[in-house]
Symmetry: none
Subunit: 212 residues, 4 copies
DNA sequence: TATGAATGAGAGTTCATTCAT
DNA sequence: CATGAATGAACTCTCATTCAT
C-alpha cells in the first residue's frame, strides 16, 4: 500500500512543477523510488494517475469547504470562513493551484477539472444568490461575483512566482499569507457591504455622501 | 516573409489550444502549410518560436495599455480605461490568456512570462501607490490590489470554459463581455472609493452608518 | 486440479484465436479466472503452457487416428476411416488447426510441432508405401501423396474464415462438413484408383478409352 | 528511395521467419541498416508496414497468375500453367507462404489476407465452374476443388520444414521442386479426367471395369 | 495452492532537430 | 528559402516472470 501513495506524492509534485505533459512516468518512478512499470500496475495510465491526484485534491478541498460553510453564523461570517479555508488549503497544497491553473486553460484534461469546478462554482453562486437576493442581474450578478472572488483568491497563489521577484520576499511565507488574508477580508467586506446596499451605484453615492 | 507569419499564427493557435508541450512542430507545420524543417529555419527552436509568439503578444499588449494610461483625465478614469483596454485585448486575443495561464504556473517558461509580467505588475502597483498614497501598508498594499484586480480581469477569460457550462451561454459573446465590463467597473469603483477613504475599516463603518 | 485445466482451456482458446505471441498470460489468467502468477506455478513458462496444450492435442489425435487405422478391412477402407477420423477431430477441435497452422510455419515453436507431425507423416507415408508398392518413385512418391492429402484435409479448416465470405454459409456447419467429407472420399477414391493402376498415365488412358 | 525498399526487404524476411508479432521494429531497422524511427517515417505503423509487404506480394502474384491464365490453349493447359506459375512464385518467394499461413489462421490481420485471397479463390472457382459445368453440386463442387488444389499446392511449401526432416533432403531444392511439380501435374490430370467424365462414381466404375 | 505486488526488458511510437540538396 | 530524409533520445505502456506472504 505504501508504493501507491509514494507514486501519488511524486506525481503530485511533478505534475505541479512541470505540468502533465512535461512530467514523465520515468521521473515519477524515480522520485517515488519504485519501478516504472509499477505505476501502470497501480494506475491504468498516466491519465488515470493524473485523475487520481486531482480527485484526491478535490475530495479534500470539498471536505474543507463544506465544513467551513456548515459553521454557524451569519452569511458574512460563513463566507469569511470559506475564504480562509480556501486560502489555507491552497497554502498547504501548493501544487494544487499550479495543476489546476495549467490544466484548466485548455486541452484534454480541462473537462476533468471542469467536472470538479462547476459544482463548486455553482454552489458558490447559489450561496451568494440566496444570501443577497438583490444581486440578481446587472453588474453584481452572482456568477460575476463568484468568478471575481475566485480569481482574487487563486491568482495570488498561481502568480506567486512572479510576485516573489516583485516584492522581494516569499509571498507564501506565513507573514505574507497573513497579510494576504487581511486583504481578502477587506475585499470581501467591501463587496458584501455593497451588495447589501442593493444598487451598487446607490451604495457608492452613499459612501461619497457620508464623506462630506 | 509569409511563411514566417503563417508559422506564428499556427503556433499561437496550437500553443493556446494544447499548451507548449502538447503542441508539436509537425502539427504547427501542417496547420501553417509549411515544411517542418522550415520552422527551424525561421526560428532556432521550438522554444524560440514560443518566445516569438509571446513577445509579440506582450509588445502589442504594452502598446495598448500604454496608450490607455497616457490618456488625459483623473487616475480613476485612466484606470478604467486601462481595465477596458486589457479586457478588449484579452477578448480579441483569446489564445493569449490560455498561454499565459498555462506557462506562468511553473516550469521552464515561467521566467519568460515573468520577465514580461513583472514590469506590468510593477507599473500597475506604482501607479496605484502614486495615486493613492494611503494604500501604503496593510490590507490595501498596492501589490495586493494589483494582483487582485489582475485576477479579477483574467480569471473570467481563463475559466471561460468552465463558465460556459455554468451559465449556459457563451461567456465571451459580445453581450456577456459587456456585462462583465460593467461588473469590472463596479468592482473598480468599489475599490477606489474605499482606498480614497483611507482606512478601509473606517470606510466600511461610514457606509454602514449611512444606511441608517 | 481444477485451476490447471481451466488454464489449459483458456490457453487453448486464446492461442487459437490470437496466436502464441498475441495471447498474453494476463488474458489467459482473466479468462480462466485464476491469478496470473498461478499460471507459472502450474506451468513453468508460457512456452511450457503452449507445449502442454499442444501435447494434449496430439495425444488425443494419435489415439483417434490409431483407432481408425487399427480397424479391420482393406487399406482403402482403413484409409477412409483415417480421413474421417481426422476431419472429425478437426471439426471438434477448431483451435487445433489454427494453432498448428500458425506455429508450424516458422519460428521457435515449429520444432515442437514437427516433433509431433513427423511421426504422423512418416506413418502415413509408410502405410501408403506398404499398401501400394507401385508408388515408389516419380509423381506418386508416397510422401507427395501424404502431403497432398494432408493439405486437402487441413486447408479446408484453416481457410474456413476465407471460405465463409466466399460461399456465403458457415463452412463448418454440419451440412457443409458432410459435403466436404463426400468430396474427400471422392478425392481419396480417385487417388487410390490411380495408384492401384500403377502408372498414372496408363490409368488415365484407360479411363479415356472406356469413355468411347 | 533506397531506405524504404531496404525496410520492406527486411520486414518481409522477419515477418516470414518470425511472424508479425515476434518480429520487432528494432530488428527490422537493424537488418535494413536504418534508424528505427525511419520505419515510422516511411510507414505509418508496424501494421501499415505489414500491409505494404503483403500488398506487394499479392500485386506481383496476381500479375503472374493473370499472365498464366491469359495464355492460349485448352483449359487443361491453362490450368497447368496456372499451377506452375503459382509453384514458381512460391518457390521464389519463400517468405510469402509462411506469412500467409501464419496470419490467415486468425487474428487482426486475417481480414487483410482474406481481402486478397477471396478474389483469387472466387476467380479459381469460377474458372473451374465455367470449364467443367458438370461439377455443379455434390462432391465436385467448384469451391471444394478449388480449396483442395490450393491446399495441395501451398501445403508443400508451408510444411517444407517438417518435410525436410522426413525425406532427408531439402524439399525446396530444384530437383525436389521438379518432382513436386510432376506430382501436381499428375494430381491435376487425375482430377480433370474425373470431372470431365461427369459423375465421379461412374468414372471410377469405368476405370475399374477397364481393368478386367 | 494461491495471490498482490513488484520488476527488468523491451515493445511501438513520437519527438525536436539536423542535413544534404 | 524550402524540403524530403534521416536520427538519437525519450516517450508511454505491456510483457513474462518472480517473490514474499
Amino acid at each position: 500500500m505504501k508504493a501507491r501513495e509514494q507514486i501519488l506524492v511524486a506525481a503530485d509534485r511533478l505534475f505541479g512543477e512541470q505540468g502533465f505533459d512535461a512530467a514523465t512516468t520515468r521521473e515519477i518512478a524515480e522520485v517515488s523510488g519504485v519501478n516504472k512499470a509499477l505505476i501502470h500496475y497501480h494506475f491504468k495510465s498516466k491519465d488515470a494517475l493524473f485523475e487520481a491526484v486531482l480527485d484526491g485534491y478535490y475530495q479534500r478541498l470539498n471536505l474543507v469547504l463544506s465544513k467551513a460553510l456548515a459553521s454557524p453564523g451569519a452569511p458574512r461570517q460563513r463566507l469569511t470562513k470559506l475564504v480562509d479555508a480556501y486560502v489555507d488549503f491552497l497554502s498547504q497544497n501548493r501544487n494544487f493551484s499550479k495543476i489546476v491553473q495549467r490544466e484548466s486553460s485548455n486541452g484534454p484534461r480541462v473537462d476533468r477539472i471542469s467536472g470538479h469546478l462547476e459544482p463548486m462554482f455553482k454552489m458558490g453562486a447559489d450561496l451568494i444568490q440566496a444570501a443577497y437576493p438583490k444581486t440578481k442581474g446587472g453588474a453584481t450578478e452572482a456568477h460575476h461575483l463568484m468568478v471575481s472572488f475566485y480569481g482574487i483568491i487563486v491568482t495570488y497563489f498561481t502568480y506567486s512566482g512572479v510576485l516573489e521577484n516583485l516584492v522581494g520576499k516569499d509571498p507564501l511565507s506565513k507573514k505574507e499569507l497573513a497579510s494576504r488574508k487581511k486583504h481578502l477580508h477587506w475585499m470581501l467586506g467591501l463587496i458584501l457591504d455593497a451588495v447589501e446596499n442593493g444598487d451598487p451605484a446607490l451604495a457608492r453615492a452613499r459612501v461619497k455622501k457620508s464623506k462630506t
